[in-house]
Symmetry: C2
Subunit: 142 residues, 2 copies
């Protein structure tokens, strides 16, 4: 199966996040790429540092809004509650090179607790670039 440009870009962003976390004291597990053994959806990444456990859905976009389906938000919350982890959306928006919001030493993600996501009129969820940057938790601040 061929991956579109945006899927490849998304996979690269996720790898960047996983590598950064692993190099900064977190033990990180990624979900298998395709069907797991069970019907339940798994978080994209699950990581811990001995004190804090985070299950996250990872999304990146060149647009200014990132959407999450109600079903993926529900699945993530379900898994996180059962496991004993915080449930978060990990979002990354494209920024111009040199933008002070990013550093060369970080992958540029913001973490938003699921409870703080904005609901759409259709009962899905979204994160706006400006609110992520002002209210999200930078991966360096986790």
């Amino acid at each position: 199966m061929t991956m579109g440009n945006s899927s490849r870009k998304g996979a690269r962003a996720e790898r960047g996040l996983v590598n950064w976390l692993a190099e900064n004291g977190w033990a990180v597990m990624r979900a298998p790429a395709s069907g797991s053994a069970t019907d339940r959806d798994l978080p994209d990444v699950l990581f811990g540092d001995g004190e804090r456990f985070v299950a996250a859905e990872v999304k990146s976009s060149g647009e200014d809004i990132i959407y999450l389906d109600e079903s993926e938000v529900d699945s993530l919350q379900y898994f996180a509650d059962a496991f004993g982890a915080e449930a978060m959306a990990a979002v990354r928006f494209d920024l111009e090179y040199g933008d002070p919001a990013y550093g060369a030493d970080r992958p540029g993600f913001y973490f938003i607790p699921l409870g703080k996501l904005e609901m759409t009129p259709g009962d899905n969820f979204r994160v706006r670039k400006d609110s992520a940057q002002t209210q999200g938790i930078r991966e360096v601040d986790l």
Copy 2:
């Protein structure tokens, strides 16, 4: 790549364990089948129930001894310590149908904390079927 009979059997046993755990209150993450984003080895499964977190290497065999390499034991301990999980070997030995050690309602695994594995003369590790059955923790007793 073709999977040998024993690999297929091992994969089936691991799926059985993952399904059983998921149906019994654990949130379970399996490692991706092939290369992760980092060079670090990942546990085969990582699961939690809000109180207890377990990272495990999963092995099954038709023989009476199951071996683990020093390197996989070290990697598992490293990951588990960083994450904040117990590190265990999850082993399954073939038993005759109807053997009272197994029930129809369980996948037949025993969990051994890494510190209790027997060391081989070559600095690898092994689990004997009889000691697993007498000293291991059945998945139903986790």
